[in-house]
């Protein structure tokens, strides 16, 4: 095959893999992004069992079930091939996402509603657990050895771009349902939240069409024709010390740290801006969207660079920079959004609400500052005790502060591109073809689904235990990242495997 044909083929392979993987990430993230709205529809707080299911669905199901998906579909992919397995994961993900958009609310069908949503969320997690290993393996097994990092890094952009797409679709839908914003948001909360789920089926349909036209991985076809397919990929992957030790090294020396950096730099950062800094809903998301837009090309930069200098140190330096600078950067978030550092324009203060319930009087005002920022101030007075508390929320930042935060988010996502860009090629090179899909999927989804996916929950939980320190949530990422850095630095070598055809 000549070079232009090979190049055209690899781009077709990348497109087929990436589009589907991006859609799967989008499907997975819209559930998390709309968790508060979904909770009100399906898990009313008045019913304790329904509220419990809410905890399970949003907290455990999607993330923790991913490693099981990795085992189920990883095994399938090593037995029947990459192409059909990750076509199946796409169909399951698309179908369950579309179905979530159709399920009637608790008010209509009662307890069946949260049960169905929980089941569908489990299916999403299972499908995602099977998707990534297939997509990365599929591209890597087509790519030339000296450009494996570069070509697989295109798959690495899909998780962040899926997040970007989910934030964008939600924001646009939230604003377009009525001429005035308040009505539009009300309609979004009532029924418009279903639209992002329905949109998914169109995207999935296109991806399925593209993937149906793909050929099987040449390496898998080769071992199949030679009769060298694994009879029991699970046993070979995890039952033999020679491979199990590499699975453990991949987890504790790479994916564990990569997972916490990935989720801290994107999900926890957005959650921190919204719940700790109390920035306005739209701004907290558009800040992330801009940061993602500027940083995404660096997945390709670092993936390509890893082909020249090796994968190990790019990933580990990204991890080290993250754990050394997180406390400083998140403190900047708090400083930039603090009302105390601003000068109020007293004449522009507007009273929004003044209500009294029993002994408690709550006064809400709109406060304007000289730099252009507008905050909502809520003063709560206890008439009996005389105590007063003041919080500032729904903060709309001035232009300078807004873009400064975008800059810091860009830095956080830059760390993400360093730890994540080269990792697909790194994982593929660790394992032989016959058990590759199984072996690389499990450490990836434990690192990302368990360590990474639970980061926002664990970080928030830490702030409720160590209440005096708003940055205490970062200790989870810092400790996990530090252990991973030490293990990776000492035990992983920087060798790029020239031959994955084995």
């Amino acid at each position: 095959m000549n070079q232009p044909t090979e190049k055209k083929n690899i781009w077709q392979v990348i497109a087929a893999s990436s589009v589907g993987t991006l859609i799967e990430w989008y499907d997975f993230y819209i559930f998390g992004s709309l968790a508060t709205v979904i909770a009100k529809q399906f898990f009313p707080s008045t019913n304790p069992t329904a509220a419990l299911l809410s905890t399970l669905a949003t907290f455990a199901a999607g993330f923790i079930v991913r490693p099981f998906g990795a085992l189920v579909f990883g095994r399938l992919g090593d037995l029947i091939g990459r192409k059909y397995t990750f076509l199946l994961t796409l169909i399951i993900m698309g179908g369950s996402t579309f179905a979530i958009g159709l399920v009637p609310g608790y008010a209509t069908i009662g307890f069946a509603a949260p049960l169905i949503v929980l089941l569908l969320r489990l299916l999403q997690g299972l499908a995602l657990g099977g998707e990534y290993g297939g997509a990365a393996t599929y591209v890597a097994e087509h790519a030339p050895s000296h450009r494996r990092g570069y070509y697989t890094s295109w798959i690495q952009t899909t998780a962040t771009l899926g997040l970007f797409l989910s934030l964008g679709v939600i924001l646009v839908t939230r604003h377009m349902l009525a001429p005035d914003m308040e009505t539009s948001i009300q309609r979004f909360n009532d029924w418009g939240w279903r639209i992002p789920f329905w949109v998914s089926i169109l995207l999935v349909g296109v991806s399925i069409y593209i993937r149906l036209r793909m050929k099987e991985s040449p390496l898998f076809s080769k071992i199949k024709s030679e009769g060298k397919i694994s009879v029991n990929p699970l046993k070979e992957s995890f039952g033999h010390k020679s491979n199990l030790k590499m699975v453990l090294l991949a987890l504790f020396g790479a994916t564990m740290g990569q997972g916490v950096v990935w989720y801290t730099g994107q999900f926890y950062a957005q959650s921190f801006l919204e719940t700790v800094c109390r920035i306005d809903f739209d701004q907290s998301r558009t800040i992330l969207i801009w940061g993602i837009l500027f940083a995404t090309p660096f997945f390709i930069v670092f993936g390509g660079w890893s082909d020249k200098i090796g994968r190990k140190w790019i990933m580990l330096v990204g991890m080290l920079l993250a754990i050394c600078t997180y406390q400083f950067i998140f403190r900047q978030f708090m400083n930039i959004t603090d009302h105390a550092s601003r000068t109020e324009l007293v004449e522009q203060r507007k009273l929004l609400d003044d209500k009294t319930e029993g002994n408690i009087q709550t006064i809400t005002s709109e406060v304007h500052y000289s730099d252009g920022a507008v905050f909502k101030e809520m003063v709560t007075k206890n008439k009996e005790t005389g105590s007063t508390s003041t919080i500032y929320k729904d903060k709309k930042l001035d232009t300078g502060s807004y873009w400064t935060l975008v800059g810091w988010i860009f830095v956080l996502i830059l760390y993400v591109t360093m730890v994540y860009g080269p990792i697909a090629a790194f994982l593929v090179e660790l394992f032989p073809t016959r058990i590759r899909y199984t072996s690389m999927s499990l450490p990836y989804h434990i690192g990302n689904g368990v360590f990474g996916g639970l980061t926002p929950f664990i970080a928030t939980l830490l702030t409720t235990i160590y209440v005096d320190n708003k940055l205490s949530g970062l200790w989870y990422t810092i400790i996990v990242g530090l252990v991973c850095f030490i293990i990776g630095a000492i035990y992983i070598n920087n060798r790029i495997d020239p031959d994955v055809n084995d």
């Binding site: 304790p48 907290f59 030790k245 032989p432």
Partner: protein, 79 residues
């Protein structure tokens, strides 16, 4: 470097049980402070998920102590 790899294995083997102990201790304190179903479920999930991973860390440490990581495999034949 090989000696560092080997003897750090003892650290990883110890870190697993320490992490499990810390997790269970924190879970017990949190559930005692807030004995609602949500708290119990959350901490039960953390423990069920992280205990096998901590055991995996112990196994990793054992392999390191037994010199399994002195030379990483360079082809599938070695695996």
């Amino acid at each position: 470097m090989n000696a560092i790899k080997k003897y750090l294995g003892i650290v990883w083997m110890a870190l697993g049980p320490v992490a499990i102990y810390y997790m269970i201790k924190t879970a017990a304190a949190e559930i005692a402070a807030k004995p609602v179903i949500d708290t119990k479920i959350q901490w039960a999930v953390f423990i069920i998920v992280f205990v096998p991973i901590a055991i995996g860390l112990v196994i990793f440490g054992w392999y390191a102590f037994k010199n399994e990581y002195q030379q990483l495999p360079e082809s599938s034949k070695e695996v």
